[in-house]
Symmetry: C2
Subunit: 348 residues, 2 copies
DNA sequence: GTGAAAGCGCTAACAG
DNA sequence: CTGTTAGCGCTTTCAC
């Protein structure tokens, strides 16, 4: 049996409560007893029992991380490790532990969240994604359980939600405008499933930029990630065979763009000479593609770090309204974009 | 205040202990009361308190995952997400939760492990790396705490350690032999820090294959990952400028190989025409490099899955000796290797 | 089959 | 400043 507070108390000749106070470093204990107790703890190799503490305290110093589905392919996307790195970094500073969801289906994950919350397993939750019509957020709200969303709540009205997000609408708009500025008029867009709020925002930004430029939106230029995964190269072949093939393309994220670059290279379509590409995220390997990709750095680490910071605030002061945060993004220009009107020039 | 077992007991007109038995689905409770109690639980929305259970049970149904340093760059390596996916998948099946280490330095991580163990926070631990002279493993052994290592213990004598590993020695040997078979005689090797056991094994396999083929080992052909990170391209420039430049190269892992491919492409060195490359891991994006890389698939998911499986066995039967497992690897031939003696032929 | 009661290890009034 | 006591919510003997 592990050594408990009582053993320490006995050895130090004090009451268990005194030991407890020493652990909490209560100012109402004399230096002398503190030293005595600490020596006893040292000698016995005492470590407080986590569950006993949590039970008495009603606080666990643990936060739950809810992933879209840790056990599916999406976890392969470097976004998740990186955002967890950010969370982890702040969590360590604040003395919080990290508990991971493991469910695979939406329903499994929902049940896990219920268990975390009702079972008092965690003090707060960070949601790593925001999905349209998700059950988890309303549940958390109704339970008045502290949580922070990475992304943006779908329903604008829900004002009480604290979230950390990029301005994805603006990022997509800027990126489109950038291509426009380079002289491109036929810009395709490969978006994510419109289930995810980020995909909705990207698409809106893209469309708005075109609208402002008075360029009609062509349905055949808009492809969903889903189609791509399903049909392999088919969607791209079709896209590039339109009556007016696009000269530029906006990719959902860097990973998908890697795939795109490969397809184009196999088809003999040169990037950026034949088509310019820009994508989102700027994960570590983005600069290693050939050619290195132009992409929007969304500061993934920062998203995680800030989310954890806000969550701690919420936990510490449950009454206080914690305001959401927008993490700035930044276009990182590398070599997948080229001005259209000087396509002869070798170097951009 | 959350609804407790007492509330349920009151509503169902039974004793708390009976409710507890219903939760555990004890056979000594009549069907009738079970139904009655379950109805009460349903009506009140009862969920057992996790910490109270853990405290009374002395078991948490949680396992700790120890990463080299979740908050540093290494987590960007897709190996970690993927191995966690494997662990996660099995953990969900077995009803275990996942707790993540967050420390950054070796010492911080060690302290976290001590807390997890002594604080009774987890029932077992999976170590995601094996490092030479690591303090954690000896500690865990001495505490007789259930753990499984992903990788191989450095010290062969330590027989009592359960681990899940690839045969990295053989993988490296095979890979070298493969290049030899293709006619290469000048094969360079970029290894990881010899701190990590896997790097040691790779190097041994490489050297043994050369020895068997009676090819002398050249010091200038062996580069450490570390040098690469430090000097950027310098190490590669130097390598390719040797009196006899290598015609083939073995890369530490896919991510590093991405970088390598980029450097070569920038230097106008063609892969595989001028140099063949083979690496390890086969992460998801490996097939997206240009050219797609030849690499050893080590079944990362399987490593995690199996580790979790073994750990559960250990936890359930602490006395039983649980034998270690070697996960088979497989060379995945793509397009970064070419036979030397027919360098004219376009297709391999 | 079910209830009463002790206890898991710690904290937090309440005394003094 | 420190000790006594009750209790966090659950499990588990031991009775009946």
């Amino acid at each position: 049996m592990a050594v408990t507070i009582k053993d320490v108390a006995k050895l130090a000749n004090v009451a268990p409560s005194t030991v407890s106070r020493v652990i909490a470093n209560s100012p109402r204990i004399s230096e002398k007893t503190k030293v005595k107790v600490r020596e006893a703890m040292e000698k016995l190799g005492y470590h407080p029992n986590f569950h006993a503490r949590s039970l008495a305290n009603k606080s666990t110093n643990t936060i739950g991380i809810v992933m879209p589905s840790s056990a599916n392919k999406s976890f392969q996307n470097p976004f998740f490790p990186e955002v967890i790195r950010g969370i982890s970094s702040k969590a360590y500073q604040e003395n919080y532990g990290l508990y991971l969801s493991t469910g695979q289906t939406e329903e499994e994950i929902f049940q896990e969240v219920v268990h975390m919350v009702q079972g008092g397993r965690v003090d707060g939750i960070i949601l790593l994604y925001s999905r349209v019509n998700d059950k988890i957020m309303p549940y958390l709200q109704q339970q008045k359980f502290p949580f922070v969303l990475i992304g943006r709540p779908y329903n604008e009205e829900i004002h009480s939600i604290t979230y950390v997000n990029n301005d994805n609408y603006k990022a997509a708009k800027t990126v489109t405008e950038y291509l426009l500025l380079l002289g491109h008029r036929n810009i395709a867009f490969i978006g994510g499933e419109l289930d995810f709020v980020v995909a909705v925002d990207h698409k809106k930004g893209y469309e708005q930029a075109l609208k402002n430029a008075k360029i009609p939106i062509r349905e055949e230029y808009i492809i969903s990630h889903h189609e791509l995964e399903q049909g392999g190269e088919d969607a791209i072949i079709q896209l590039m065979s339109s009556s007016v093939p696009p000269t530029a393309l906006i990719g959902l994220d860097d990973i998908m763009t890697f795939g795109l670059l490969k397809m184009f290279s196999e088809m003999g379509i040169r990037v950026p000479d034949d088509i310019s590409i820009v994508s989102f995220n700027n994960v570590l390997i983005s600069e290693l593609s050939s050619p290195p990709m132009t992409t929007v750095d969304i500061n993934i680490f920062g998203l995680g770090f800030e989310a954890m910071k806000l969550l701690v605030e919420k936990i510490k002061e449950p009454t206080k309204e914690v305001k959401s945060v927008i993490i700035p993004h930044k276009l990182v220009k590398r070599q997948t974009c080229k001005a259209l009107n000087r396509s002869e020039k070798k170097d951009e």
